[in-house]
């Protein structure tokens, strides 16, 4: 059916967007062992900065400059915040990034207020790329797909083909040895944190116009990004990619088709209690797949953590 | 009489690398047994296999005739085996007294008790104080363990290990990184607190080994090449060749 193709494309967009966030997060995690709760907040900052820049210099300059600003901010957070908290252990680090997430949200509201910003897609991309059975695919979505894939390939290239990438990969596994070889590991950490947050910034820049630029945007996406890298396996870039696409498609398809729990239960051989509105199970019987689409990733995560605690592609326990 | 600890064809691989390549060893009750060998011979791995930290790949470990396969560290501990660690492994934020008291709780039958106050049990407090006295840390009783000097932490480590009254005590390099005077102090301590118990230790300091052990096993590349009294091992040509060579000349 044509709709399947359309949904595949939509799911791909969602998944790749998620991947841009989770790639940075998982890089940071595998390097420093820190789950950055504030990662989605940098995504939000990316969108807001880009919006502000676009008012003066247009969308494209925003796409160029905003991620850089976010990256510098991220590096600053690592240098002056996280490095300090590091000495207290992982739990305080997690709490620190949690507090940072709260603070950034408040800061954004302080500066830009609480309403949604009129951040829009550039006019040059405001046309329909093509249509499938009446469903139009906006050109901007194609643009998003290209940007995400370009970034993924770039990242892969840097990590596997360049000297810097080699050092980073080595520092992931043997930080002590790399340090002994004369590399400045704290600097690498700062750099990775900066790049990771800049990636989140890029995601914010290109997602802001479609998903909305408002103070709650980090909160809405934040925990899903976590879920993604936990499902993919903490620290695994491929895991992050697979999990992102998986979540993108699962949520898209379960929203796009009205699968009903009633059918499933009947198929399993249960009889519908009558009258249904008087039964304690009425809510279970009336569940449809779009209703629970957004909690499916959480269910998946809990199941994964129970049965495969290191995730789909994880090599080690967190 | 069954041996305190019996290893039978024990093997352990990490991936393709075989670290322990078939160890057979029997340690009798009340014996003081030292395991020596060059770095990377697999001594610590052997310890970790016995105490349940890692599962073995092949073979059997029996304590007092009971198989330890698949048992978790805490289960093995409850059967009467207690160990110390090469890198000091204590509860740094808790007081010295607390450290020792926690190691007494299970053996005194408190288990997961949440209805009685630890402070109310005279037996527990006295038992803890007795061990503190034995390891000479009474004066440090209420300090956080993390602020003790290195030697004191090592002493505390041994205190925690023996507190539970286990009859098989395993010490992993108890004198690592110590000065001469500190080493002497620890050796005396070990001798005193393991009186009447089975002791298995990994040690690099040959002075300590020959001073304490009744039996010595030499582990090289995951295999035991010799077991015997200190004199026998010292005289064993294989040992001389494989490991002791120069090291022995020094002592």
């Amino acid at each position: 059916m044509d709709l399947i193709l359309v949904n595949l494309i939509d799911g791909l967009v969602t998944g790749l967007l998620l991947f841009m966030l989770s790639a940075g997060l998982t890089l940071i995690f595998s390097m420093m062992g820190v789950l950055n709760f504030a990662h989605a907040s940098f995504y939000m900052l990316g969108a807001y900065f880009a919006f502000q820049i676009s008012l003066y210099l247009g969308f494209w300059m925003g796409l160029l400059i905003a991620p850089l600003v976010v990256g510098v901010l991220g590096a600053g957070v690592e240098r002056y915040g996280l490095r300090r908290v590091h000495q207290y252990g992982h739990v305080p680090e997690l709490i620190f990034t949690f507090g940072l997430a709260l603070l950034i949200e408040e800061l954004v509201q302080f500066i830009w207020g609480k309403n949604q910003m009129p951040y829009a897609t550039p006019e040059i991309l405001q046309f329909t790329a093509f249509s499938i059975a009446g469903n139009s695919i906006p050109a901007y979505k194609i643009f998003m797909i290209f940007i995400s894939i370009a970034i993924f390939i770039g990242l892969l290239y840097v990590l596997t083909r360049t000297r810097v990438g080699m050092i980073i990969q080595a520092a992931l596994t043997y930080p002590k040895t790399v340090e002994a070889l004369g590399h400045n590991v704290p600097l690498i950490f700062m750099g990775v944190f900066g790049v990771g947050t800049a990636l989140a910034g890029v995601a914010g820049v290109i997602a802001g116009p479609v998903l909305g630029t408002f103070p709650g945007m980090a909160f809405v996406l934040g925990s899903i990004v976590f879920v993604t890298i936990v499902i993919g396996g903490l620290g695994s870039l491929w895991g992050a990619l697979v999990a992102s696409l998986l979540i993108g498609w699962i949520t898209t398809f379960s929203k796009a088709y009205n699968l009903r729990m009633e059918d499933l239960l009947t198929w399993l051989g249960f009889t519908k209690p009558e009258p249904i509105w008087d039964s304690a199970w009425r809510d279970l019987w009336s569940i449809t797949s779009p209703q629970i689409a957004d909690i499916l990733p959480y269910i998946l995560m809990v199941l994964i953590l129970i049965f495969r605690p290191y995730g789909l592609f994880g090599k080690r326990d967190a | 009489m069954t041996a305190a600890l019996e290893l039978d064809g024990l093997k352990k691989s990490f991936g393709k690398t075989e670290i322990i390549r078939g160890v057979d060893l029997s340690i009798g009750k009340g014996e003081r047994h030292a395991i020596i060998g060059p770095n990377g011979a697999g001594k610590s791995t052997l310890f970790n296999l016995i105490t349940g930290r890692f599962p073995q790949s092949e073979g059997h470990i029996r304590m007092h005739g009971q198989d330890l396969a698949g048992k978790a560290p805490f289960q093995i501990n409850r059967m009467g085996l207690s160990r110390s660690f090469q890198i000091t492994n204590i509860f740094p934020k808790m007081s010295v007294f607390e450290n020792v008291r926690c190691s007494l709780l299970w053996s005194m039958g408190y288990r997961y008790n949440f209805w009685s106050m630890v402070g109310r049990s005279r037996a527990l407090t006295e038992g803890t104080d007795r061990i503190l006295d034995q390891i000479n840390l009474t004066a440090r009783r209420d300090l956080p363990a993390g602020v003790l000097s290195y030697a004191e932490q090592r002493a505390l480590e041994i205190g925690i290990t023996i507190a539970g009254g286990a009859d098989v005590i395993m010490l992993d390099e108890p004198t690592a990184g110590m000065s001469h005077s500190e080493t002497d102090y620890i050796v005396e301590l070990i001798r005193a607190v393991t009186e009447g118990k089975t002791l298995i230790m990994v040690e690099h300091d040959m002075g300590v080994v020959f001073g304490l052990a009744d039996q010595i096993s030499v582990l090289v590349y995951g295999e035991i090449i010799a077991t015997g009294t200190p004199e026998a091992v010292r005289a064993n040509p294989k040992v001389q060749e494989a490991y002791l060579g120069e090291a022995m000349e020094v002592h």
């Binding site: 908290v85 603070l103 | 560290p73 607390e98």
Partner: protein, 432 residues
Amino acid sequence: MTDQLTTDPTKPAQRIGAGSLTVPLIPWVLAAALLMVLPFIFTANSAITIMNQMAITIIFALAYNMLLGQGGMLSFGHAVYAGVGGFACVHIMNMDDFFAQIPLPLLPIFGGLMGMGLATIVGAFSTRKAGTVFAMISLGVGELIAACSVIIVAFFGGEEGISGDRTYGMPFFGVEFLQQIEVYYLIAAWLLISAALMYLYSRTPLGRMANAVRDNPERAEFLGYSARWVRFFSFVASGFFAGVAGALFAINYEILTEENLNTTQSGLILLATFLGGVGFFFGPILGAIVFTLVQTVLSLQTELWAFYLGIVFVVTVMFFPGGLAGLLMMHVPAMRLGKLGRLGVPYLKTLGSGAIGCLGAAGLIEMTFHLRHASAGDHSMTLFWITFDSHTILPWIVAIAVTFVGLGIARRTAPALAEAWNEANTPDGAPR
């Protein structure tokens, strides 16, 4: 230096906490007395409402600290245990026949059991690991149950929640709990009971082992304890007291909604607990008090309360990981030495001026905010009981001056404070 800190074992009076055989009674008696007289000091109904809220938060924060502080488990979803306990109690309130049989003061027991039941189920798989994995599972389960609350309408009542009426219960010695003050004493009693139980729990073998497992789970395993079971029992106990807090919430507000379960609520209790300090038993109590005041009182004064709270929280994590309680307890050695008084003047100089500087900075923030977001033409704003025009230069100069002078003096006097601090923590005659 360390020698100086060693206590003399021959003097049992000097033995702190761990070794003492008795549980100190005096603080508890004082707390009970304070709880008794508070309503006579703050007579307003709204003050009582805030105190009720505070007491509930204290119980919840203490329960949370059983995990975070004592067990080393960071949970991002603990609100669900309190929430589910509360929901269960509202359902009991709505069971007319049954509810009329039981006196209201016993209701929290049911809430506690419900919270405990849920914690038993979740804990069965979530406590296998501490640290990041536990935190993630708690987040996932928390989100899941919060999301279910709008789907499972039969139990959670959907978005608008469910409500009941506490006065339909069996009167308790003639008290029908019509008035806030009656509810206050009920909550206060439960606060004392729960706090005492949680304190005593921390003194039991299991409570001590929770600390041991927090510090070094592997070592604890080699002492005969399964780290997982120790965590599990802490988790279940914490679930019980969280449920009690939820039940008291149900009694006080007579309504429970999705927000009692969601991650925001879980985050807030983490915030309150950590601000107070996780290292000491009384830390969460302090945190809950301060936090409730900020939430209910400061939010009346400024729209930016959450912004300030965020700053304070991040600063706390970065510079004072011990929280408020940690800061207070830093003064114990000086107090032992009887030299606490010597810190008074330097404190006044540095912290006093620092506080003034911070108020100045807050003033600047408020003025910036007013300039940016107030409706156009609305130039007048009120700050610290002074009304002025935010579009004139004078208030800005004053605020900037106050900020810089305040912080400047604090900076200048900081070395003197550090000096006095060292002095106060060194026994007389000790070599420096």
